[in-house]
């Protein structure tokens, strides 16, 4: 596995942020991880760094968050042209039928994964889609 990724984690649950980060570190698939406790903070970060040299290769995005949820975040992200090269995986602890369909309909989202996410499943998914070689 030669390539490593720049990863952005967005989740309102600090335990999940911690667990996800540790799993990613454990698998050694990242060289940079940025974590945000809300979608607003993540957007603020992206706004503050318009010339971000390293736009995240992968965004793990929680769906159910207060105020701005995962889908709202995606809507706000449409203005960033760099977003096209980011791979987005949405996460949820409850696989809601409506959410599954919304994810399928969204061209930017690679997959919807159930929490707690299975790191091997994630790695497999990234390999199949050519994000990791």
């Amino acid at each position: 596995m030669a390539k490593t990724l720049s990863i952005m984690l967005i989740d309102d649950n600090p335990t999940d942020l911690f667990v996800h980060e540790r799993f990613l570190v454990h698998k050694k698939i990242s060289h940079q991880i940025v974590k945000f406790i809300s979608a607003e903070e993540a957007l603020f970060y992206l706004d503050e760094h318009p010339d971000l040299i390293e736009w995240p290769d992968l965004i793990l995005l929680d769906i159910q968050m207060p105020v701005m949820n995962g889908f709202d975040f995606l809507q706000h992200c449409e203005k960033y042209t760099q977003m096209k090269k980011s791979n987005i995986i949405m996460l949820s602890s409850s696989l809601d039928f409506g959410d599954i369909n919304r994810v399928k309909a969204n061209p930017h989202v690679l997959a919807l994964m159930e929490k707690p996410f299975d790191i091997d499943e994630l790695v497999g998914l990234l390999e199949i889609n050519g994000v990791l070689h």
Binding site: T15, V19, R22, S93, S94, F97, K115, P116, F117
Partner: protein, 363 residues
């Protein structure tokens, strides 16, 4: 609570009748009178009437015509028609067009009139009570819907965080000594989660209408098996599907039914058996689909077989697997919703076979 006075509007083109009516009923009711339909409309614009009494024979607008026009804006109001002649046509028209609940013939006897007005009042009160009860029920339903959403997310979300934490800890070499503890914690979290999921499934099943879809049984069975097979990796699962034509059914409920039955077949295996087998066979025809799920597991004792579909029924068994006691109950409930049925044959220590029949809703 102070009882609200009943407001009655009486419409008649004869002034004397209006006066007599007012004199007779003014103590009992809040009485309003109008000499014509147009005057009645003016009153109705500002005052919500509970009962409207109208004479049939009036110039310009007849009683039925007038009462008919009040239906849309005053749906809860009780309408009463008075006619001179007992003309069946008028009565039929009054009931069908004017939504008239009561009918009085001229010349009237005051006591009878009074009794009919009491009936009207009762009708009105019953209508309002029903409306209030409906609104309350609607509110309770909405709250329950919100509760289920919150249970499926807010209750499960922290649980899944703990599960993630445990799984992370299991990968940490420094935690080697505690592996066994983590296994126990993990299995308990999964059990609690299964319980929450079951309750949500039960509730969703009891609430929602059938949503029909085209069913590919082979795909569905494989998909369900993929989600439940982790519970016991040693089990060999065989699927036989025969489906030549379209089957239309409720995929959400079919998934609940299959995943509960297959999951049970996988969980309740006989530890003494050399091979652990589960066979899922599906025959889908133009009218029905017949699905059987058979295992060579621990089986069900004869005295328990009557009870397995009851809510919270559980037994002690050799596998030390404890169910939530809700799975088969949900299966039965879901089958009832889609018009299917289930039967079970079991021999202790040899195995259990569940057979379900579900109607094809193609037509």
């Amino acid at each position: 609570m102070e009882e609200q006075r009943i407001r009655i509007l009486y419409v008649d083109d004869e002034e004397n009748n209006l006066l007599a009516f007012r004199a007779y009923f003014r103590k009992k009711y809040e009485v309003y009178t109008a000499i014509s339909a147009s005057e009645a409309f003016r009153l109705l614009e500002s005052i919500e009437m509970h009962v409207i009494v109208s004479d049939q024979r009036m110039p310009i607008t007849s009683g039925v015509e007038f009462l008919e026009t009040t239906i849309e804006k005053h749906p809860d109001t009780i309408r009463l028609l008075i006619t001179g002649q007992s003309d069946i046509e008028t009565v039929i028209e009054a009931i069908n067009r004017g939504q008239v609940s009561k009918y009085l013939q001229k010349p009237w006897d005051w006591e009878k009139f009074s009794l009919i007005l009491e009936n009207c009042t009762d009708l009105y009160k019953a209508k309002i009570t029903l409306k209030e009860k409906n609104a309350q029920l609607q509110k309770t339903n909405d709250e329950l819907n919100r509760f289920v959403y919150s249970a499926s997310h807010d209750l499960r979300s922290p649980l899944m965080s703990v599960l993630g934490m445990v799984q992370l800890a299991k990968t940490d070499e420094a935690m080697d000594v505690a592996q066994e503890y983590f296994e126990i914690i993990e299995s308990n979290i999964l059990k609690l989660d299964m319980y929450i999921k079951n309750i949500i499934d039960y509730y969703r099943n009891s609430r929602s209408m059938e949503i029909l879809d085209n069913i590919d049984f082979n795909y569905l069975a494989n998909d369900v098996i993929a989600t439940v097979k982790d519970q016991n990796q040693d089990v060999q699962i065989e699927i036989e599907t025969e489906q030549d034509e379209e089957f239309v059914g409720d995929i959400f409920r079919l998934r609940i039914i299959l995943s509960n039955l297959i999951s049970n077949a996988i969980k309740y295996q006989n530890p003494q058996a050399n091979v652990h087998k589960v066979t899922v066979s599906i025959k889908s025809g133009p009218k029905f689909a017949t699905i059987s799920i058979a295992d060579n597991g621990i089986g069900i004792l004869n005295e328990h077989i009557e009870n397995v579909f009851k809510m919270f029924f559980r037994t002690y068994n050799a596998t030390n697997t404890q169910g939530t006691g809700i799975g088969l109950y949900i299966v039965k409930e879901a089958l009832e919703k889609i018009g299917g049925n289930i039967s079970v044959v079991s021999t202790p220590l040899e195995g259990t076979s569940f057979k379900i029949v579900i109607p094809n809703k193609k037509s």
